[in-house]
């Protein structure tokens, strides 16, 4: 195992982590501000990917496809917030889970009805294809590098918005005491719609970015959603900082676990058994991480309340 391979794997872990952050940020904000468990967040990720694939097929432009993913996912977010989600804020978590699960089914079948059962094609643009040479002789995918940079830029933007802007102050105030900021004259319902749309747009954006190197198909959001839940539980529900740290931890643990555990077991076992055991343990690694974190910090690393 060479150092170059190790660094490449760390980059892969970072890339996975920042994409998870885009998903988890919306989920944790919605939970923190509105107290809502939104299972349909994965559907918004899918909406973004399908909007991007359809736009790319119609116009041939990847940039337009990314813009479409933001717009359509935000629009879908506003739509379901106004029609369904708004009625769930005051109800208990199981009602929310039931209603948002119904939304998953509606989105999945609606998408199948519109686009069919076969996966769609979405590819990265030529100017992001191929590899770049980094220092120390590392060869890395240009697109993945771009994903890391874009994800970090979005994270910085979010931190700035939450920390420095008026809307960010209101979001933080909403997390702390909903009734009080409503009493102070803030239009809380508009704030909720905005937060939901923001989370939806980030999820859709992640869907479009990832769709370009994976497959755009019905049901693509649910596996990512489960990981995003793991991230926000580790990070502390409601905390953007927690979501960021949690996402990077999960991304690195998963990637390095898949890579290092089989190598580790090969020291003590014959190769094919080591590969099977290592692979099995690697697929548990992030859940072990979650259990470990919860053991010492039962409410996550950066619980806000």
């Amino acid at each position: 195992m060479s150092l170059v391979l190790f660094i490449e794997q760390v980059l892969n872990g970072l890339q996975f982590g920042v994409m998870l952050f885009l998903m988890a940020a919306g989920l944790t904000l919605v939970f923190g501000v509105m107290g809502l468990i939104n299972l349909a967040h994965g559907s918004l990720y899918m909406v973004g990917a399908f909007a991007a694939a359809a736009t790319a097929a119609a116009t041939g432009s990847f940039v337009l496809a990314l813009i479409a993913s933001l717009v359509f996912a935000a629009f879908a977010g506003v739509l379901i917030e106004v029609l369904v989600i708004r009625r769930l804020y005051e109800r208990d978590h199981l009602d929310q889970v039931l209603a948002t699960f119904a939304l998953i089914l509606i989105f999945s079948e609606g998408t199948r009805w519109l686009f069919g059962s076969f996966p769609l094609f979405l590819d990265k643009p030529d100017w992001l294809s191929g590899t770049v040479g980094l220092p120390f002789g590392i060869v890395y995918s240009r697109y993945r590098l771009a994903m890391i940079l874009v994800g970090l830029a979005v994270a910085v933007g979010l931190f700035w918005m939450i920390a420095k802007t008026r809307i960010g102050i209101r979001i933080r105030a909403g997390e702390n005491d909903r009734e009080m900021i409503a009493a102070l004259g803030v239009n809380i319902s508009l704030l909720h719609t905005f937060v939901f749309a923001l989370g939806a747009a980030l999820a859709g954006f992640a869907g479009a970015l990832i769709g370009a190197i994976q497959s755009v198909q019905v049901g693509m959001g649910e596996p990512v959603l489960i990981l995003a839940f793991v991230v926000i539980v580790i990070g502390g529900i409601g905390s953007i900082k927690g979501a960021f740290v949690g996402a990077l931890l999960v991304g690195l643990t998963d990637t390095l676990g898949r890579f290092l555990l089989p190598v580790l077991f090969r020291l003590a076992m014959e190769p094919s058994a080591a590969n099977a055991v290592g692979a099995s343990l690697a697929s548990m690694s992030i859940y072990l991480l979650m259990a470990g974190v919860l053991l010492f910090r039962p409410r996550g690393l950066f619980a806000s309340q």
Binding site: F16, L39, H93, L94, R112, D123, S215, I237, R258
Partner: protein, 394 residues
Amino acid sequence: MTFKPFAKPFALPASLAASLALLASAGLGPIAGQAQAAGVKVGMITTLSGGGAGLGIDVRDGFMLAIKQSGRNDVEVVIEDDQRKPDVAVQLSDKMIQSEKVDVLTGIIWSNLAMAVVPGAVAQGKFYLSPNAGPSPLAGKGCHANYFNVAWQNDNLHEAAGAYASGAGHKNAFILAPNYPAGTDALAGFKRMYEGELAGEIYTKLGQTDYASEIAQIRASGADSVFFFLPGGMGISFLKQYADSGVGLPVVGPAFSFDQGILQAVGAAALGVKNTSQWSKDLDSAANKAFVDSFQAEYGRLPSLYASQGFDTANLLLSALAKADVSDADAFRAALEAADFASTRGDFAFASNHHPIQDIYVREVVKEGDVFTNKIIGLALEDRSNAYVDDCSM
């Protein structure tokens, strides 16, 4: 209200657990279709919704095309969606056997679902004709007189890939497959026929969509070729990422990741890849040409491997019906064993464990006009049976 801060964290684990349980069962929707009663009643349990729906839809469409072409109106087909879930498939088969009173079951795509349904169905005296899944237990010790596989034994296409890789002079292959029974079967099948060294062997997570870590290991391994079995969306993701990584080693795989249904989503990343299949749309036989043309005319798309398997399954059933009544189980079984039908893949016979003996070809992904498709470039294995014949006591 002093407890309020704690209310959320305490309620949360229960809700999250419920969420995850619900998510695990995401996917939905029964879709049923049927014809009028009489002669034989067929129960088709297949995947028509969720991630793997394309495969089930193709099997169903191929099957129904053959029934339609036969002009027989005494074949009633009850179609239900298993949502790719073993528990749903078992419920459907119970319902079909007990209340629908079907004579023959068919349709299952996935090996884990077949393992859940087939042993129970054949034990109740029903016939089961598999249009796809061919798990090794059902070919070996668990074989049954009423179970017929019309597609392949699971290992077959991987064995062919191993034979092709050796024949093409690959000496140091890197191999990967998902960590589940069909994945371990796949790597075992490849290694059975492959003579070179292995540069590396990886089991990936089932349903994994990001392969950056595996591709980095391939790059660092010094391999001269790559073999992978990653069906459906997993294969799309791998191929796109592999093409982008610039590793550029030749790729060999079974047909499942290069099926007509998903090639368009992979795009140019799949061009030139060699894959092994018992069928291809350019196979030169009258039966196949007629099938490809009529499928395109009926559904407006090119048929896939799965569609050909559904079509062959229906034709096998029809050939047996022409010779014997399904109520006479022994005569009907003998008629099935004769496999007296014009298969889309040419010569077709059953081995003693009721799995096909057939040629397996090597195909290359090409672009015809605007459509990505496959073209045969050679024969990988001739009259291949399977490795489990001797384990079966039939």
